[in-house]
Symmetry: C2
Subunit: 345 residues, 2 copies
DNA sequence: ATTTCGTCATGTAACGTTTCATTCAAGAAG
DNA sequence: CTTCTTGAATGAAACGTTACATGACGAAAT
């Protein structure tokens, strides 16, 4: 702003208090013994000058930035934003500041971000890579050289991880639909290069296998987790031959895409098509009818991810990597019904 | 992680390349003239050692952290998250990193965050304070000593500001409802200590004044912008005497609260009650019926806020504070209808 | 009375950069 | 052949901290 007056340094404080630099430092970090009279002089000088320590210089000296970064695909996804919010809260309370970056499902961007963060000497990292085994990405992560908590990704190296039980969750969802009488159940999810995509596929197959039914792979689509992709695939399947009687939106951001496709195809939920979404949201709760979802508590996950990282940081320990698993719960609402005869093949 | 090997410094690079520290620095910042032979030796050393400059040390020397912070009430609000996302993108592309903090509508928290950011010597700040004129908050903002862009707040001091045309937007919404035949229109919004609350009040009054009608202040509620508050006030009004025939959710996060209250009261939109929300969202778009909203494009706003700040930073100029105004648009959907006779008083 | 501690304050090095004032060598000009 | 001038590399200082080694000064112990 207007005030281009440089901020006072500890040197100014020392001068104003008539003590040495070291003494001023000692009263600020109030650990060592220091003459009470000098202490008050320093304290006075601090409040008169409005001194506050320069965190950059401290970082330089102490080799810790008290900064933690979160890299995530898209912060506007409701689940992710709750994740970030709760993690930020924990981190802030522990004295860390949060750096946030969106990788946008782009390898280059993810690499660039990792690079930039490495330079900045952050203390820790919470992220969900776009591709678990990509060499460059693995190397870039390693290069940052700080503890990492991976979010629903198969951990590589020494990273800790939070993993989500989407396999069981999807299995449960599919079984629920099978029990309602559905046979043609579509699953739309993201890349199989990441854990959540693979797990949902497995869960889907588990359910069919358990029921002794064969899966129709044409109803299983996996490219990316965006609502646009969900819209495209939903539209294609709904208007193709042998349309599904139920759709599972296998990604936290995908439900809107599916719903848009259903609306555009002039179908009604659940009379014409049953729908199950991933994670609870205002939309799934307040839609008419409310949408059944495979829920997972992203607030809790954010908290635990932050704690996991802080713990690792505190006890810099060489403990083996840890992985924390979070289960899912099927929140049954009114978006699923037995398939209508007319739409059965 | 495992590698506790300290990262190579420019000194290591210089030694490995057999040149002086200054020379290494010059080839890294590739501005000055340097002997081509030495240049390649340095470059080789850099790639062999895997050197990347320490941003903390650079910040120390250059007195710029290339970090910009956003402080916002709640990052999970869909509009805000889009704001953050687009701002982050612009900032990242300009070489800045984003620090994010949630103020949670708490003065203490906001103060604490400002303090922490001041220490960290961020380069700029985008925020929306919880109370525009609170002395402590004004002082704390000043104390950070960097350019600020205020988001939909009356700027103090030298801060730039993005302001939103909620007054006109609300007036337009109220007029729309008046034209449909509504007379008892509820407005629920946040604190009048901030601009958006006040502006909505004014817009509401403008519309009634223009129609030559008197406002019923009991239908105007303003405390805070949360869905919980919207739920409480909606429920109270809908089940009280002389219930409104239309409700305007005057805050970007409030529509879900209003909708929950309507559902809980077993009313139908728009047959029993008309509803207008603030800003477009997946919920307003995909609800049944889709909800009419006073929209404002938070993506565009995020971009402009970032640009405004970058511009100020680039031309460190003492230009007078700027304010950019964004208009609103009424997106008419199916949540409003003429009031039903039976519910008119 | 001299030595030995212990208590506190001081001064300084170091963290990893960038930049500025020097130095040095070599080529051009007298 | 000497002197200037230019171009390029070097060395050192500085940014704001913290921490460590030193030093000063009394008090206690021999």
């Amino acid at each position: 702003m207007g005030d281009r007056v440089p901020k006072p340094t500890i040197k100014d404080v020392a001068r104003a208090a008539g003590v040495s630099l070291g003494t001023a430092s000692r009263v600020i970090n109030s650990n060592a013994t220091v003459n009470p009279k000098l202490r008050v002089k320093v304290l006075e000088a601090i409040s008169i000058l409005g001194y506050s320590p320069n965190a950059v210089a401290q970082s330089m000296r102490l080799k810790t930035t008290q900064a933690i970064a979160i890299i995530i695909r898209d912060i506007t996804v409701p689940g992710f934003s709750h994740f970030i919010k709760s993690a930020q809260e924990i981190l802030y309370d522990a004295g860390y500041v949060l750096m946030l970056a969106a990788s946008e499902d782009s390898k280059d961007r993810e690499l660039g971000i990792l690079n930039s963060l490495a330079r900045r000497r952050i203390d820790g990292l919470i992220m969900s890579t776009m591709s678990e085994n990509d060499e460059d990405l693995v190397a870039a992560r390693e290069e940052v050289g700080v503890p990492i908590v991976l979010l629903d990704r198969e951990p590589t190296g020494t990273a800790d991880a939070i993993i989500l039980g989407y396999r069981e969750g999807t299995q449960q969802a599919v079984e629920y639909l099978l029990n309602l009488g559905h046979a043609r159940i579509a699953l739309i999810t993201g890349s199989l290069e990441t854990r959540p995509g693979r797990e949902r596929f497995l869960g889907y197959e588990d359910a069919f296998a358990a029921a002794g039914l064969a899966v129709d792979r044409r109803l299983m689509r996996a490219r990316n987790f965006t609502p646009e992709y969900a819209f495209v695939e939903s539209t294609a399947m709904l208007n193709g031959r042998d349309p599904p009687t139920a759709i599972i939106a296998g990604g936290v951001a995908m439900l809107p895409g599916v719903m848009r496709a259903i609306a555009a195809s002039n179908l009604r939920i659940p009379a014409d098509i049953s729908v199950i979404g991933s994670i609870n949201s205002e939309l799934s709760e307040l839609a008419t009818p409310p949408i059944t979802v495979v829920n997972v508590d992203y607030r809790a996950i954010g908290i635990e991810a932050a704690r996991l990282l802080l713990d690792r940081l505190d006890n810099a320990l060489e403990d083996p990597p840890r992985r924390l698993k979070f289960g899912t719960s099927l929140i049954i609402r009114q978006s699923c019904a037995p398939p209508t005869a007319s739409r059965l093949r």
